[in-house]
Protein backbone atom coordinates (compact mmCIF):
# COMPACT_ATOMS: atom_id res chain seq x y z
CA UNK A 1 0.00 0.00 0.00
CA UNK A 2 1.23 3.44 -0.89
CA UNK A 3 -0.06 6.94 -0.52
CA UNK A 4 -1.38 8.94 -3.44
CA UNK A 5 1.89 10.85 -3.71
CA UNK A 6 3.95 7.69 -3.91
CA UNK A 7 1.66 6.27 -6.53
CA UNK A 8 1.97 9.39 -8.68
CA UNK A 9 5.73 9.42 -8.25
CA UNK A 10 5.91 5.83 -9.32
CA UNK A 11 3.70 6.53 -12.34
CA UNK A 12 6.02 9.27 -13.54
CA UNK A 13 9.08 7.30 -12.61
CA UNK A 14 10.35 10.01 -10.28
CA UNK A 15 12.31 9.20 -7.15
CA UNK A 16 11.28 12.22 -5.12
CA UNK A 17 9.25 15.37 -5.76
CA UNK A 18 10.36 18.83 -4.78
CA UNK A 19 8.35 20.06 -1.76
CA UNK A 20 6.17 22.37 -3.86
CA UNK A 21 5.20 19.62 -6.29
CA UNK A 22 4.72 17.28 -3.36
CA UNK A 23 2.23 19.74 -1.93
CA UNK A 24 0.46 20.20 -5.28
CA UNK A 25 0.12 16.46 -5.79
CA UNK A 26 -1.15 15.98 -2.26
CA UNK A 27 -3.69 18.69 -2.93
CA UNK A 28 -4.88 16.89 -6.05
CA UNK A 29 -5.20 13.70 -4.01
CA UNK A 30 -7.16 15.52 -1.35
CA UNK A 31 -9.49 16.97 -3.95
CA UNK A 32 -10.12 13.54 -5.45
CA UNK A 33 -10.83 11.93 -2.07
CA UNK A 34 -12.90 14.93 -0.99
CA UNK A 35 -15.04 14.83 -4.12
CA UNK A 36 -15.61 11.10 -3.81
CA UNK A 37 -16.73 11.54 -0.21
CA UNK A 38 -18.95 14.53 -0.93
CA UNK A 39 -20.59 12.76 -3.87
CA UNK A 40 -21.29 9.69 -1.81
CA UNK A 41 -22.61 11.74 1.07
CA UNK A 42 -24.73 13.85 -1.24
CA UNK A 43 -26.27 10.84 -2.92
CA UNK A 44 -26.81 8.87 0.26
CA UNK A 45 -27.97 11.64 2.58
CA UNK A 46 -30.54 13.11 0.24
CA UNK A 47 -31.72 10.45 -2.12
CA UNK A 48 -30.58 7.01 -1.05
CA UNK A 49 -31.60 7.47 2.58
CA UNK A 50 -35.09 8.44 1.58
CA UNK A 51 -35.44 5.58 -0.83
CA UNK A 52 -34.06 3.08 1.66
CA UNK A 53 -36.22 4.26 4.53
CA UNK A 54 -39.25 4.24 2.28
CA UNK A 55 -38.48 0.71 1.19
CA UNK A 56 -38.28 -0.43 4.81
CA UNK A 57 -41.60 1.26 5.56
CA UNK A 58 -43.40 0.01 2.45
CA UNK A 59 -43.38 3.35 0.66
CA UNK A 60 -41.93 4.63 -2.60
CA UNK A 61 -40.43 8.05 -1.76
CA UNK A 62 -39.21 10.57 -4.33
CA UNK A 63 -40.05 9.51 -7.86
CA UNK A 64 -41.37 12.63 -9.55
CA UNK A 65 -38.30 14.87 -9.59
CA UNK A 66 -36.22 13.48 -12.43
CA UNK A 67 -35.67 9.77 -13.13
CA UNK A 68 -36.33 7.79 -9.92
CA UNK A 69 -36.32 11.09 -8.10
CA UNK A 70 -32.58 11.54 -8.58
CA UNK A 71 -32.83 15.26 -9.30
CA UNK A 72 -33.96 15.76 -5.74
CA UNK A 73 -30.25 16.06 -4.92
CA UNK A 74 -29.54 19.29 -6.82
CA UNK A 75 -32.99 20.57 -5.88
CA UNK A 76 -32.43 20.04 -2.17
CA UNK A 77 -28.94 21.48 -2.32
CA UNK A 78 -29.95 24.59 -4.27
CA UNK A 79 -32.96 25.22 -2.10
CA UNK A 80 -31.13 24.85 1.20
CA UNK A 81 -28.24 27.02 0.03
CA UNK A 82 -30.59 29.74 -1.13
CA UNK A 83 -32.53 29.93 2.12
CA UNK A 84 -32.29 32.91 4.39
CA UNK A 85 -29.57 32.53 7.01
CA UNK A 86 -31.13 33.25 10.35
CA UNK A 87 -28.84 34.05 13.22
CA UNK A 88 -31.08 34.18 16.27
CA UNK A 89 -30.81 36.99 18.73
CA UNK A 90 -28.53 36.38 21.68
CA UNK A 91 -26.46 33.55 20.24
CA UNK A 92 -22.71 33.37 20.71
CA UNK A 93 -22.13 34.50 17.17
CA UNK A 94 -18.59 33.36 16.59
CA UNK A 95 -19.19 29.92 17.96
CA UNK A 96 -22.58 29.64 16.29
CA UNK A 97 -21.22 30.36 12.82
CA UNK A 98 -17.95 28.49 13.23
CA UNK A 99 -19.46 25.22 14.44
CA UNK A 100 -20.93 24.04 11.10
CA UNK A 101 -17.71 24.80 9.21
CA UNK A 102 -15.60 23.06 11.80
CA UNK A 103 -17.92 20.06 11.87
CA UNK A 104 -17.75 19.57 8.12
CA UNK A 105 -14.02 20.29 7.93
CA UNK A 106 -13.08 17.93 10.76
CA UNK A 107 -14.88 14.94 9.36
CA UNK A 108 -13.73 15.46 5.77
CA UNK A 109 -10.13 15.97 6.89
CA UNK A 110 -10.35 12.67 8.72
CA UNK A 111 -10.69 10.85 5.41
CA UNK A 112 -7.05 11.75 4.63
CA UNK A 113 -5.89 8.77 6.68
CA UNK A 114 -8.24 6.25 5.11
CA UNK A 115 -6.51 3.76 2.79
CA UNK A 116 -9.06 3.43 0.00
CA UNK A 117 -6.72 1.16 -1.89
CA UNK A 118 -5.59 1.61 -5.51
CA UNK A 119 -3.19 4.27 -4.27
CA UNK A 120 -5.95 6.48 -2.94
CA UNK A 121 -4.65 7.61 0.41
CA UNK A 122 -3.68 11.18 1.05
CA UNK A 123 -1.57 10.67 4.16
CA UNK A 124 -0.16 7.57 5.74
CA UNK A 125 1.68 8.56 8.91
CA UNK A 126 3.16 6.00 11.25
CA UNK A 127 0.46 6.76 13.82
CA UNK A 128 -2.37 6.77 11.29
CA UNK A 129 -4.82 4.83 13.46
CA UNK A 130 -4.42 7.24 16.36
CA UNK A 131 -4.82 10.21 14.04
CA UNK A 132 -8.00 8.76 12.56
CA UNK A 133 -9.48 8.04 15.98
CA UNK A 134 -8.54 11.51 17.15
CA UNK A 135 -10.38 13.01 14.20
CA UNK A 136 -13.34 10.79 14.99
CA UNK A 137 -13.54 12.30 18.47
CA UNK A 138 -13.03 15.78 17.11
CA UNK A 139 -16.57 15.62 15.73
CA UNK A 140 -17.96 16.12 19.23
CA UNK A 141 -16.46 19.57 19.62
CA UNK A 142 -18.48 21.37 16.90
CA UNK A 143 -21.62 19.79 18.32
CA UNK A 144 -20.78 21.20 21.71
CA UNK A 145 -20.10 24.58 20.14
CA UNK A 146 -23.35 24.48 18.19
CA UNK A 147 -25.43 23.40 21.15
CA UNK A 148 -23.90 25.80 23.60
CA UNK A 149 -23.98 28.84 21.34
CA UNK A 150 -27.55 28.41 20.07
CA UNK A 151 -29.13 29.82 23.22
CA UNK A 152 -31.86 27.28 23.02
CA UNK A 153 -32.64 24.87 25.81
CA UNK A 154 -33.22 21.98 23.45
CA UNK A 155 -29.82 22.58 21.86
CA UNK A 156 -28.36 22.84 25.32
CA UNK A 157 -29.76 19.46 26.34
CA UNK A 158 -28.54 18.03 23.05
CA UNK A 159 -24.96 19.10 23.61
CA UNK A 160 -25.03 17.98 27.23
CA UNK A 161 -25.97 14.55 26.01
CA UNK A 162 -23.28 14.65 23.35
CA UNK A 163 -20.61 15.43 25.95
CA UNK A 164 -21.70 12.60 28.23
CA UNK A 165 -21.91 10.22 25.30
CA UNK A 166 -18.59 11.18 23.70
CA UNK A 167 -16.71 10.81 26.97
CA UNK A 168 -18.33 7.49 27.79
CA UNK A 169 -17.58 5.90 24.44
CA UNK A 170 -14.18 7.45 23.71
CA UNK A 171 -12.18 4.87 25.63
CA UNK A 172 -14.09 1.81 24.39
CA UNK A 173 -13.67 3.06 20.84
CA UNK A 174 -9.91 3.47 21.10
CA UNK A 175 -9.27 0.36 23.16
CA UNK A 176 -11.38 -1.88 20.93
CA UNK A 177 -9.46 -0.59 17.92
CA UNK A 178 -6.15 -1.15 19.72
CA UNK A 179 -6.99 -4.81 20.17
CA UNK A 180 -6.15 -5.42 16.52
CA UNK A 181 -2.76 -3.74 16.69
CA UNK A 182 -0.94 -6.78 18.12
CA UNK A 183 -2.49 -8.82 15.33
CA UNK A 184 -1.23 -6.36 12.76
CA UNK A 185 2.25 -6.61 14.19
CA UNK A 186 2.03 -10.40 14.17
CA UNK A 187 0.47 -11.06 10.77
CA UNK A 188 1.88 -8.04 8.96
CA UNK A 189 5.29 -8.53 10.50
CA UNK A 190 5.85 -4.82 10.80
CA UNK A 191 7.39 -2.30 13.19
CA UNK A 192 4.67 0.29 12.56
CA UNK A 193 1.41 -1.51 13.23
CA UNK A 194 -0.47 1.77 13.71
CA UNK A 195 0.03 2.73 10.09
CA UNK A 196 -3.32 2.43 8.32
CA UNK A 197 -1.88 0.84 5.20
CA UNK A 198 -0.13 -1.79 7.34
CA UNK A 199 -3.40 -2.59 9.08
CA UNK A 200 -5.04 -3.27 5.72
CA UNK A 201 -2.04 -5.19 4.46
CA UNK A 202 -2.07 -7.48 7.49
CA UNK A 203 -5.61 -8.66 6.58
CA UNK A 204 -4.80 -9.90 3.11
CA UNK A 205 -3.73 -13.50 3.78
CA UNK A 206 -5.90 -16.48 4.71
CA UNK A 207 -7.48 -16.54 8.17
CA UNK A 208 -4.95 -16.63 11.01
CA UNK A 209 -2.25 -17.29 8.47
CA UNK A 210 -3.43 -20.90 7.99
CA UNK A 211 -2.63 -21.81 4.43
CA UNK A 212 -5.47 -23.00 2.24
CA UNK A 213 -8.32 -21.63 4.37
CA UNK A 214 -10.88 -20.01 2.05
CA UNK A 215 -11.73 -17.30 4.61
CA UNK A 216 -9.68 -14.09 4.40
CA UNK A 217 -7.80 -12.85 7.42
CA UNK A 218 -10.19 -9.97 8.02
CA UNK A 219 -10.09 -8.94 11.64
CA UNK A 220 -13.87 -9.27 11.68
CA UNK A 221 -13.18 -13.02 11.77
CA UNK A 222 -9.88 -12.92 13.61
CA UNK A 223 -11.13 -10.48 16.26
CA UNK A 224 -14.95 -10.78 16.28
CA UNK A 225 -15.38 -9.40 19.82
CA UNK A 226 -13.36 -6.32 19.03
CA UNK A 227 -15.35 -5.85 15.83
CA UNK A 228 -18.68 -5.98 17.68
CA UNK A 229 -17.49 -3.62 20.40
CA UNK A 230 -16.01 -1.24 17.86
CA UNK A 231 -19.28 -1.21 15.91
CA UNK A 232 -21.31 -0.27 18.98
CA UNK A 233 -18.76 2.33 20.04
CA UNK A 234 -18.69 3.94 16.62
CA UNK A 235 -22.49 4.14 16.53
CA UNK A 236 -22.43 5.89 19.88
CA UNK A 237 -19.47 8.10 18.98
CA UNK A 238 -21.24 9.43 15.89
CA UNK A 239 -24.63 9.32 17.68
CA UNK A 240 -26.52 7.11 15.28
CA UNK A 241 -29.56 5.03 16.23
CA UNK A 242 -30.07 3.60 18.75
CA UNK A 243 -27.73 6.16 20.31
CA UNK A 244 -28.95 9.30 18.53
CA UNK A 245 -29.59 11.13 21.77
CA UNK A 246 -28.05 14.52 20.91
CA UNK A 247 -30.50 14.94 18.06
CA UNK A 248 -33.40 12.92 19.52
CA UNK A 249 -36.18 13.95 17.16
CA UNK A 250 -39.16 13.28 19.39
CA UNK A 251 -37.62 14.56 22.61
CA UNK A 252 -35.48 17.55 21.79
CA UNK A 253 -37.18 18.81 18.60
CA UNK A 254 -33.89 18.62 16.67
CA UNK A 255 -31.33 18.67 19.47
CA UNK A 256 -28.22 20.71 18.76
CA UNK A 257 -29.51 21.37 15.22
CA UNK A 258 -32.64 23.16 16.43
CA UNK A 259 -31.55 26.72 15.71
CA UNK A 260 -29.71 26.02 12.48
CA UNK A 261 -31.23 26.61 9.07
CA UNK A 262 -30.12 27.13 5.51
CA UNK A 263 -26.45 26.74 4.70
CA UNK A 264 -25.38 26.11 8.30
CA UNK A 265 -27.87 23.29 8.52
CA UNK A 266 -26.49 21.83 5.31
CA UNK A 267 -22.97 21.80 6.73
CA UNK A 268 -24.02 20.14 9.97
CA UNK A 269 -26.18 17.66 8.13
CA UNK A 270 -23.33 16.90 5.78
CA UNK A 271 -20.95 16.42 8.68
CA UNK A 272 -23.43 14.07 10.29
CA UNK A 273 -23.68 11.88 7.21
CA UNK A 274 -19.98 12.10 6.36
CA UNK A 275 -19.36 10.88 9.90
CA UNK A 276 -21.38 7.72 9.21
CA UNK A 277 -19.21 7.09 6.17
CA UNK A 278 -16.08 7.83 8.14
CA UNK A 279 -17.26 5.27 10.66
CA UNK A 280 -17.85 2.89 7.78
CA UNK A 281 -14.41 3.61 6.36
CA UNK A 282 -12.75 2.96 9.71
CA UNK A 283 -14.68 -0.25 10.17
CA UNK A 284 -13.80 -1.35 6.65
CA UNK A 285 -10.11 -0.60 7.05
CA UNK A 286 -9.84 -2.10 10.52
CA UNK A 287 -12.09 -5.13 10.28
CA UNK A 288 -13.22 -5.76 6.71
CA UNK A 289 -9.84 -6.01 5.05
CA UNK A 290 -9.92 -2.58 3.42
CA UNK A 291 -10.19 -2.87 -0.33
CA UNK A 292 -9.59 -6.60 -0.55
CA UNK A 293 -11.96 -8.51 -2.75
CA UNK A 294 -12.07 -10.32 -6.08
CA UNK A 295 -12.34 -8.89 -9.62
CA UNK A 296 -13.03 -5.25 -8.82
CA UNK A 297 -10.37 -2.63 -8.04
CA UNK A 298 -9.57 -2.18 -4.36
CA UNK A 299 -11.06 1.32 -4.17
CA UNK A 300 -14.39 0.06 -5.50
CA UNK A 301 -14.50 -2.73 -2.97
CA UNK A 302 -13.72 -0.25 -0.25
CA UNK A 303 -16.63 1.98 -1.27
CA UNK A 304 -18.97 -1.00 -1.48
CA UNK A 305 -18.10 -2.02 2.07
CA UNK A 306 -18.56 1.54 3.26
CA UNK A 307 -21.99 1.63 1.69
CA UNK A 308 -22.91 -1.66 3.29
CA UNK A 309 -22.06 -0.17 6.66
CA UNK A 310 -24.27 2.80 5.85
CA UNK A 311 -27.18 0.55 4.91
CA UNK A 312 -26.88 -1.29 8.22
CA UNK A 313 -26.90 2.02 10.10
CA UNK A 314 -30.02 3.19 8.26
CA UNK A 315 -31.67 -0.16 8.85
CA UNK A 316 -31.09 0.26 12.57
CA UNK A 317 -32.62 3.72 12.31
CA UNK A 318 -35.89 2.31 11.05
CA UNK A 319 -36.16 -0.59 13.47
CA UNK A 320 -34.49 0.18 16.79
CA UNK A 321 -35.79 2.70 19.32
CA UNK A 322 -33.54 5.19 21.00
CA UNK A 323 -32.03 4.17 24.34
CA UNK A 324 -32.37 6.37 27.40
CA UNK A 325 -29.46 8.44 28.64
CA UNK A 326 -28.90 6.35 31.77
CA UNK A 327 -29.05 3.13 29.76
CA UNK A 328 -26.56 4.58 27.32
CA UNK A 329 -24.13 5.61 30.02
CA UNK A 330 -24.38 2.40 31.99
CA UNK A 331 -23.77 0.43 28.82
CA UNK A 332 -20.72 2.55 28.10
CA UNK A 333 -19.13 2.64 31.53
CA UNK A 334 -20.25 -0.66 32.99
CA UNK A 335 -19.97 -3.02 30.04
CA UNK A 336 -18.17 -1.58 27.04
CA UNK A 337 -15.19 -0.28 29.01
CA UNK A 338 -14.57 -3.56 30.84
CA UNK A 339 -15.17 -5.72 27.81
CA UNK A 340 -12.81 -3.78 25.59
CA UNK A 341 -9.99 -3.95 28.13
CA UNK A 342 -10.65 -7.64 28.73
CA UNK A 343 -10.50 -8.23 25.02
CA UNK A 344 -7.22 -6.36 24.73
CA UNK A 345 -5.71 -8.43 27.55
CA UNK A 346 -7.08 -11.62 26.04
CA UNK A 347 -5.54 -10.80 22.67
CA UNK A 348 -2.22 -10.01 24.25
CA UNK A 349 -2.41 -13.21 26.30
CA UNK A 350 -3.19 -15.42 23.33
CA UNK A 351 -0.43 -13.91 21.26
CA UNK A 352 1.99 -14.28 24.15
CA UNK A 353 1.14 -17.97 24.36
CA UNK A 354 1.39 -18.44 20.59
CA UNK A 355 4.70 -16.67 20.30
Amino acid sequence: MVTFNDAVAEFFGVEEFSPLVEFAVALVGAVIVGSIILTIVGVSAVWFKRKLNARLGDRIAVNRVGPAGLFIMPADALKLLSKEVVVPEGVDRASYLLAPILAAAAVIAAFAFIPFGSGLQVADPETGLIFALAFASLGAIPIVMAGYSSKNKYSFLGFEREVAQAIAYEIPLVVSALAIVPLVAYFGDTDTPLRMSEIVAAQQGPLLGIEGLPVPNWFLFAQPIAAALFFVAILAEFSRNPFDLPEAGSELVAGYLTEYGGVNFVLLFLAEFAAIFFGGALFTALFLGGGSGPFLPAAVWFLIKMFAFYVVVQWLRATVPRVRIDQLLSLGWKYMLELTFLNLLLTAGVLWVVL
Binding site: R50, A54, V62, G69, L78, V86, T258
Partner: protein, 245 residues
Protein backbone atom coordinates in the same frame (compact mmCIF):
# COMPACT_ATOMS: atom_id res chain seq x y z
CA UNK B 1 -60.67 51.10 17.95
CA UNK B 2 -58.99 48.43 15.88
CA UNK B 3 -55.66 49.30 14.45
CA UNK B 4 -55.86 47.87 10.97
CA UNK B 5 -52.56 48.99 9.55
CA UNK B 6 -50.98 46.15 7.71
CA UNK B 7 -48.03 44.42 9.24
CA UNK B 8 -44.65 44.16 7.63
CA UNK B 9 -45.34 40.90 5.89
CA UNK B 10 -48.31 42.04 3.91
CA UNK B 11 -46.41 45.12 2.82
CA UNK B 12 -43.40 43.18 1.74
CA UNK B 13 -45.48 40.82 -0.33
CA UNK B 14 -47.05 43.56 -2.42
CA UNK B 15 -44.39 44.26 -5.07
CA UNK B 16 -44.29 43.00 -8.65
CA UNK B 17 -42.07 40.09 -7.81
CA UNK B 18 -42.64 38.10 -4.70
CA UNK B 19 -39.58 38.89 -2.60
CA UNK B 20 -39.54 35.29 -1.49
CA UNK B 21 -38.39 34.43 -4.99
CA UNK B 22 -35.62 37.00 -4.78
CA UNK B 23 -32.03 36.38 -3.85
CA UNK B 24 -28.71 38.10 -3.38
CA UNK B 25 -27.62 36.72 -6.73
CA UNK B 26 -30.65 38.17 -8.40
CA UNK B 27 -29.80 41.57 -7.01
CA UNK B 28 -26.26 41.22 -8.27
CA UNK B 29 -27.30 40.23 -11.77
CA UNK B 30 -30.20 42.65 -11.77
CA UNK B 31 -29.05 44.32 -15.01
CA UNK B 32 -28.62 41.08 -16.97
CA UNK B 33 -32.13 39.93 -17.79
CA UNK B 34 -31.24 36.63 -19.44
CA UNK B 35 -29.11 35.48 -16.55
CA UNK B 36 -31.68 36.39 -13.95
CA UNK B 37 -34.54 34.81 -15.81
CA UNK B 38 -32.73 31.51 -16.16
CA UNK B 39 -31.47 31.70 -12.63
CA UNK B 40 -34.98 32.41 -11.39
CA UNK B 41 -36.28 29.42 -13.28
CA UNK B 42 -33.68 27.12 -11.79
CA UNK B 43 -34.18 28.45 -8.29
CA UNK B 44 -37.95 28.22 -8.54
CA UNK B 45 -37.67 24.68 -9.80
CA UNK B 46 -35.42 23.81 -6.85
CA UNK B 47 -37.75 25.44 -4.34
CA UNK B 48 -40.76 23.68 -5.76
CA UNK B 49 -39.12 20.28 -6.08
CA UNK B 50 -37.63 20.18 -2.65
CA UNK B 51 -39.93 21.17 0.17
CA UNK B 52 -39.38 20.50 3.82
CA UNK B 53 -42.79 20.69 5.46
CA UNK B 54 -42.99 21.81 9.04
CA UNK B 55 -44.21 19.10 11.39
CA UNK B 56 -46.96 20.89 13.24
CA UNK B 57 -50.12 19.00 14.16
CA UNK B 58 -52.99 21.02 15.55
CA UNK B 59 -56.31 19.23 15.23
CA UNK B 60 -58.36 16.78 13.22
CA UNK B 61 -56.63 17.66 9.95
CA UNK B 62 -53.27 16.60 11.34
CA UNK B 63 -54.52 13.01 11.33
CA UNK B 64 -55.20 13.27 7.62
CA UNK B 65 -51.85 15.00 7.23
CA UNK B 66 -50.18 11.99 8.83
CA UNK B 67 -52.08 9.77 6.43
CA UNK B 68 -50.81 11.89 3.56
CA UNK B 69 -47.24 11.24 4.67
CA UNK B 70 -47.73 7.58 5.51
CA UNK B 71 -47.91 4.46 3.42
CA UNK B 72 -50.78 4.85 1.02
CA UNK B 73 -50.49 8.44 -0.11
CA UNK B 74 -46.77 9.03 0.52
CA UNK B 75 -46.24 12.74 0.02
CA UNK B 76 -42.51 12.16 -0.30
CA UNK B 77 -43.10 11.09 -3.87
CA UNK B 78 -43.39 14.75 -4.80
CA UNK B 79 -40.26 15.72 -2.92
CA UNK B 80 -42.22 17.14 -0.01
CA UNK B 81 -41.80 14.41 2.56
CA UNK B 82 -38.93 15.46 4.78
CA UNK B 83 -40.80 16.71 7.82
CA UNK B 84 -38.65 18.90 10.03
CA UNK B 85 -39.47 19.51 13.66
CA UNK B 86 -37.65 22.78 13.88
CA UNK B 87 -39.08 25.80 12.05
CA UNK B 88 -35.56 26.92 11.14
CA UNK B 89 -35.19 24.05 8.69
CA UNK B 90 -38.67 24.06 7.21
CA UNK B 91 -40.03 25.98 4.28
CA UNK B 92 -43.57 24.73 3.84
CA UNK B 93 -45.96 25.32 6.69
CA UNK B 94 -49.06 23.17 6.53
CA UNK B 95 -51.49 24.47 9.14
CA UNK B 96 -53.81 21.59 9.95
CA UNK B 97 -56.58 22.66 12.25
CA UNK B 98 -58.52 25.14 14.28
CA UNK B 99 -56.61 28.09 15.66
CA UNK B 100 -57.93 29.69 18.80
CA UNK B 101 -57.05 32.86 20.60
CA UNK B 102 -54.58 31.11 22.86
CA UNK B 103 -52.75 29.38 20.02
CA UNK B 104 -52.73 32.19 17.46
CA UNK B 105 -49.74 34.13 18.86
CA UNK B 106 -47.79 30.88 18.96
CA UNK B 107 -48.61 30.08 15.33
CA UNK B 108 -47.56 33.57 14.40
CA UNK B 109 -44.28 33.13 16.26
CA UNK B 110 -43.63 29.85 14.50
CA UNK B 111 -44.42 31.39 11.15
CA UNK B 112 -41.97 34.18 11.86
CA UNK B 113 -39.27 31.68 12.81
CA UNK B 114 -39.29 29.97 9.42
CA UNK B 115 -36.59 31.51 7.24
CA UNK B 116 -37.57 32.96 3.87
CA UNK B 117 -38.63 31.81 1.33
CA UNK B 118 -41.55 30.20 3.13
CA UNK B 119 -44.89 29.00 1.90
CA UNK B 120 -48.13 28.33 3.72
CA UNK B 121 -50.78 25.77 2.90
CA UNK B 122 -53.86 26.13 5.06
CA UNK B 123 -55.57 22.82 5.51
CA UNK B 124 -59.24 22.44 6.31
CA UNK B 125 -62.20 24.71 6.79
CA UNK B 126 -61.04 25.92 10.19
CA UNK B 127 -57.98 27.60 8.75
CA UNK B 128 -60.10 29.19 6.04
CA UNK B 129 -62.91 30.64 8.09
CA UNK B 130 -63.08 28.96 11.47
CA UNK B 131 -65.10 26.15 9.90
CA UNK B 132 -67.73 24.53 12.07
CA UNK B 133 -66.37 26.37 15.08
CA UNK B 134 -66.68 29.81 13.57
CA UNK B 135 -69.29 30.91 16.09
CA UNK B 136 -67.14 29.97 19.05
CA UNK B 137 -66.07 32.71 21.41
CA UNK B 138 -62.34 32.17 21.09
CA UNK B 139 -61.91 30.69 17.62
CA UNK B 140 -59.85 32.70 15.17
CA UNK B 141 -61.73 32.95 11.91
CA UNK B 142 -59.11 31.73 9.54
CA UNK B 143 -55.34 31.64 9.36
CA UNK B 144 -55.36 34.44 6.83
CA UNK B 145 -56.40 36.89 9.49
CA UNK B 146 -52.85 37.03 10.80
CA UNK B 147 -50.54 35.24 8.38
CA UNK B 148 -50.39 35.09 4.59
CA UNK B 149 -51.63 31.91 2.97
CA UNK B 150 -50.66 30.61 -0.46
CA UNK B 151 -53.01 27.70 -0.91
CA UNK B 152 -56.29 26.85 0.79
CA UNK B 153 -57.35 23.23 0.92
CA UNK B 154 -61.04 23.11 1.85
CA UNK B 155 -62.71 20.18 3.55
CA UNK B 156 -63.47 19.07 7.05
CA UNK B 157 -61.04 17.46 7.04
CA UNK B 158 -59.74 17.39 3.45
CA UNK B 159 -58.96 13.94 2.16
CA UNK B 160 -55.26 13.09 1.81
CA UNK B 161 -55.71 13.32 -1.94
CA UNK B 162 -56.92 16.87 -1.52
CA UNK B 163 -53.92 17.85 0.55
CA UNK B 164 -51.62 16.23 -2.00
CA UNK B 165 -53.33 18.22 -4.71
CA UNK B 166 -52.91 21.36 -2.66
CA UNK B 167 -49.19 20.74 -2.20
CA UNK B 168 -48.81 20.01 -5.91
CA UNK B 169 -50.62 23.23 -6.75
CA UNK B 170 -48.26 25.01 -4.39
CA UNK B 171 -45.32 23.52 -6.28
CA UNK B 172 -46.78 24.61 -9.60
CA UNK B 173 -47.24 28.09 -8.29
CA UNK B 174 -43.69 28.32 -7.09
CA UNK B 175 -42.38 26.96 -10.38
CA UNK B 176 -44.21 29.73 -12.20
CA UNK B 177 -42.92 32.27 -9.71
CA UNK B 178 -46.36 33.54 -8.81
CA UNK B 179 -46.87 35.84 -5.92
CA UNK B 180 -48.96 35.08 -2.90
CA UNK B 181 -52.08 36.90 -1.82
CA UNK B 182 -51.98 39.77 0.59
CA UNK B 183 -53.80 39.05 3.79
CA UNK B 184 -56.58 40.86 5.51
CA UNK B 185 -55.75 41.41 9.13
CA UNK B 186 -58.50 42.06 11.62
CA UNK B 187 -56.55 40.39 14.41
CA UNK B 188 -53.34 42.17 15.04
CA UNK B 189 -50.61 40.21 16.71
CA UNK B 190 -47.81 42.56 17.60
CA UNK B 191 -45.28 43.18 20.24
CA UNK B 192 -46.61 45.12 23.17
CA UNK B 193 -44.34 48.10 22.53
CA UNK B 194 -45.84 48.54 19.06
CA UNK B 195 -49.38 48.91 20.27
CA UNK B 196 -50.89 52.35 20.73
CA UNK B 197 -50.30 53.53 24.22
CA UNK B 198 -53.91 54.04 25.23
CA UNK B 199 -55.32 50.79 24.03
CA UNK B 200 -53.59 47.66 25.09
CA UNK B 201 -50.44 48.90 26.66
CA UNK B 202 -52.21 50.15 29.74
CA UNK B 203 -53.92 46.84 30.07
CA UNK B 204 -50.70 44.87 30.38
CA UNK B 205 -48.16 47.50 31.23
CA UNK B 206 -47.19 46.24 34.66
CA UNK B 207 -47.27 42.56 33.89
CA UNK B 208 -45.50 42.04 30.61
CA UNK B 209 -42.20 42.67 28.87
CA UNK B 210 -42.37 45.12 25.97
CA UNK B 211 -41.47 42.47 23.38
CA UNK B 212 -44.23 40.06 24.30
CA UNK B 213 -46.55 39.20 21.43
CA UNK B 214 -50.06 40.38 22.16
CA UNK B 215 -53.12 39.59 20.07
CA UNK B 216 -56.27 41.59 19.96
CA UNK B 217 -59.10 39.12 19.60
CA UNK B 218 -62.55 40.38 18.70
CA UNK B 219 -65.36 38.05 17.89
CA UNK B 220 -67.77 40.50 16.35
CA UNK B 221 -68.08 40.10 12.58
CA UNK B 222 -69.38 43.65 12.16
CA UNK B 223 -66.20 45.13 13.52
CA UNK B 224 -64.16 43.10 11.12
CA UNK B 225 -66.23 44.05 8.10
CA UNK B 226 -65.87 47.73 8.91
CA UNK B 227 -62.17 47.41 9.22
CA UNK B 228 -61.88 45.67 5.88
CA UNK B 229 -63.92 48.27 4.07
CA UNK B 230 -62.02 51.14 5.62
CA UNK B 231 -58.73 49.61 4.79
CA UNK B 232 -59.65 48.76 1.23
CA UNK B 233 -57.13 45.96 1.15
CA UNK B 234 -57.04 43.53 -1.72
CA UNK B 235 -59.56 40.77 -1.41
CA UNK B 236 -58.02 37.41 -0.84
CA UNK B 237 -57.72 35.19 -3.84
CA UNK B 238 -60.34 32.48 -3.90
CA UNK B 239 -59.34 29.04 -2.77
CA UNK B 240 -57.87 26.69 -5.32
CA UNK B 241 -60.34 24.07 -6.42
CA UNK B 242 -59.45 20.71 -5.02
CA UNK B 243 -60.33 17.21 -5.88
CA UNK B 244 -62.16 14.89 -3.58
CA UNK B 245 -64.49 15.95 -0.90
Amino acid sequence: MLDTSKTQISERREGDVDPRMNSKLREMFGSLPIVTTSLDKVMNWARASSMFPFQFGIACCSIEMMHTVAIKHDMDRFGAGVFRNSPRQADLMIVPGTINAKLAPRVKRLYDQIPEPKFVVSMGSCTISGGPFQEGYCVVKGLETFAPVDIHVPGCPPRPEALLYGVMKMQEKIKRGESSPVTVKPYEIRELQDWDRDEVADFFEDELEPDTLVMNYTHSPELREVSEVEEGVNPTTPAEPTEGD
